[in-house]
Amino acid sequence: MLTRRTLVGAGLAFAASACAGGFGACGSTAQRKPDARPIDALLIDETIETPPQMAAFIESAARTLPVVGLQLDAAAYAKLIGVLGKSRAIVGISSGATLFCLERMAWDHGFRLTQRTDHCAGDACLEDVAAILSGARALAASPLILVRTYRPSRADGMLHAWVMQKSASLPIRQGRREV
């Protein structure tokens, strides 16, 4: 039986293959490892400049995986809440300012930041994300991630590739209800 999860997993394999074949920045990606935990969505900070390779990679990924562009506004918030509600693991590329906000909103839905890399160049972030999507890099949480800090800024020019995963704890928020 085809489930959403297996569909996403298959799609990722396609996306990763396309990436490996077509985009230099994704050269390290390969066929998705069969035991790798699937990623449910790719979140991209729309406030950062997107290098051409990243744009192509995003376009490819979007064929099979929800790709959510984020502007930190009300519309993006609604999209984000939808994604968090349906996902168990998400990956993204963003500035520190956007990551700071996303991380706190994701907390309310039971997610924790489990991986983060810091780069000044978008290409390096792209390589990280491609490796995660393809399963070449494991999703194991770093125990030190909570004590590591990053600047909640855009002014420093830093970009982050990151992973958030739903923790064992239940989400604190289940979506707005009406009486």
Binding site: T98, A155, I172
Partner: protein
């Protein structure tokens, strides 16, 4: 196990067990991983012994569960600290004011109880954020606007109870003043409704604020006399149009008559939108009168603005004159029917026109809502009643004293709405910023966000270095001393400074603090509710307050 103050491990364990029985074990949080989320990300005491961290957190689903939890807390004398969404970063976040408190996390109570387009109000629970309310209105196609702070991810109710403000029209900007009706669980576990809500079956709870008898709603703002579980707010009809009008005036001291004139226009309710001061000498906002785009800073002006000894206003005034630049710009946000905007603008021009050299430009009047693509390109959209987090993109503070800046705290004094006070505050606070090499713009201006006074908020950097944070706390104390000596008090502050600020409100040997203490004793004899919030302590923990935690 971290324990609340004056509570035994056995009692705490028993209380937690009873809390879990009320809400379900999955909504009781005691692990380090979960409690990390209740730390104040912007705490100026991060990882220090005095950082105010929670001993546990419990998340009820409804007001009945709140009642049950409060009764248990009373029985075991467990201090509980209600938060709405805990997003008031810079003013405490989700962390308690008293270390060891159990955070009462109200995020799950996120129902929009009632929304009435005809009468323009909404009743919300604590967990409803500005994003939630805005999106609900959009989804339902209701003809209503909200007024939201920036950033807009916080709780509608929590922001109001904390004294928060927005950026649209004056009657809605002060969020506590725009509330109408409160439902609150008192510290003894009894539920109460204020105003007309005290009348069973009342039809006008959200329409008539005074109610019958004393108006006590204010007792629940910046206080610790109960857990507010529902709150009504007045909303505005969407304005038909929007534009900005820019006034420029040539000389530095023209600010004094300008503020007086605008004050009269506000008191007459002719000016109702937010207006913002700036100086074209710095190339910042208010430059629309110069043909759009930021004006280039004249080479003769730049050295004045970057003088290490501070900006000398006389020199800057002369340099601006020589460069043909007006010293001040004032940008008015104007809302409403086109003919109302034009009439308002005509009144502004007539009134400000008495200042020699004043110039005026009314920008294109735009029909609302603006196209989505256009909104997307704007830095902030709060003036259109749309919440966002775009303010986080500002991030001008990257490092301080060699340490990464991870957040900020606000020093937020209220100063008189006069040009004289504005000039004095600009000079005084710029001198402090220079002295401590704080990240600070060459010129900082007061905000007109309140109706009859200025807010002069100074953002101070927070790092993860205890040494640097200790320095920032010292700077904060210095600012408080300087402001208090001038009769300028703070309207809001971070928990680390609750007692410091309450100490400054000392008229007649602290009559206000003593009165609040008397109320505290009467309504919360066990001292369990939001201990220490805004410097109000129960008798048995007052020494903790005096000692700063």
């Amino acid at each position: 196990m971290k324990l609340p103050p004056n509570v035994s491990e056995a009692d705490f364990t028993a209380a937690l067990k009873e809390f879990a029985a009320v809400v379900g074990g999955q909504w009781l949080f005691t692990t380090d991983d979960d409690l990390y989320l209740y730390r104040d990300s912007y705490s100026p005491m991060w990882d220090e012994a005095d950082e105010r961290t929670a001993s546990a957190a419990v998340a009820p689903d409804n007001a009945d569960e709140v009642v049950a939890l409060v009764k248990i807390a009373n029985r075991y004398r467990i201090p509980i600290y209600p938060i709405s969404t805990g997003k008031n970063l810079g003013y405490g976040g989700a962390a308690p004011a008293c270390a060891g408190s159990v955070v009462l996390d109200l995020k799950r109570m996120n129902r929009i109880v009632e929304i009435d387009e005809r009468h323009g109000y909404v009743v919300v629970e604590p967990g409803v954020s500005y994003f939630d309310l805005y999106n609900h209105i959009q989804e339902k196609g209701l003809k209503l606007w909200i007024d939201c702070p920036s950033p807009g991810w916080g709780s509608v109710m929590g922001n109001a109870l904390d004294g928060g403000v927005g950026v649209t029209l004056a009657p809605y900007r002060n969020h506590f003043e725009a509330q109408c009706g409160i439902e609150v669980v008192l510290p003894d576990g009894r539920m109460m409704r204020t105003g007309m809500g005290a009348l069973p079956g009342a039809k006008t709870w959200q329409q008539f604020r005074p109610g019958f008898g004393p108006r006590i709603d204010g007792l629940f703002k910046q206080s610790n006399f109960g857990v507010v579980t529902k709150m009504g707010f007045w909303l505005m009809p969407p304005p038909e149009n929007f534009t900005t009008g820019v006034v420029t005036i040539p000389r530095f001291h023209d600010l004094i008559p300008l503020i007086d004139i605008i004050g009269r226009l506000e008191q007459s309710k002719i000016v109702q939108g937010l207006w913002m001061l700036s100086s074209p000498t710095t190339g910042t906002r208010g430059d629309a009168a110069h043909g759009g785009g930021a004006p280039k800073i004249d080479p003769a002006i730049l050295p004045v603005l970057t003088d290490p000894d501070g900006v000398n206003m006389d020199r800057l005034d002369a340099a601006a004159q020589a460069a043909g630049l007006p010293f001040w710009a004032c940008e008015f946000n104007l809302y409403g029917p086109k003919k109302l905007i034009e009439a308002q603008w005509e009144c502004i021009c007539d009134a400000v026109g008495v200042i020699k050299g004043a110039r005026f430009k009314l920008n294109e009047i735009r029909k609302l809502p603006l196209p989505a693509d256009e909104l997307k390109s704007l830095f902030d959209v709060g003036q259109f009643g749309i919440p966002s987090l775009r303010t986080f993109g500002l991030g001008p503070m990257v490092s301080y004293e060699g340490e990464d800046v991870v957040g900020h705290i606000f020093f937020s004094p209220v100063i008189p709405r006069t040009g004289e006070a504005a000039i004095e505050a600009m000079e005084v606070f710029a001198a402090i910023a220079r002295k401590h090499k704080l990240p600070y713009p060459p010129l900082q201006f007061p905000s007109s966000i309140f109706e009859r006074a200025f807010l002069f908020a100074v953002g101070l950097p927070v790092t993860r270095s205890a040494v640097v944070n200790a320095k920032i706390r010292d700077v904060f104390r210095e600012l408080v001393v300087i402001a208090t000596a001038r009769g300028w008090g703070e309207y809001r502050t971070a928990p680390a400074f609750y007692d410091l600020i309450m100490e400054t409100y000392s008229y007649n040997d602290h009559a206000l603090r003593d009165f609040l203490g008397t109320i505290k004793e009467a309504v919360d004899p066990n001292g369990i509710m939001s201990v220490g919030r805004y410097g109000i302590w129960p008798r048995h923990l007052r020494d903790a307050g005096k000692n700063g935690r």
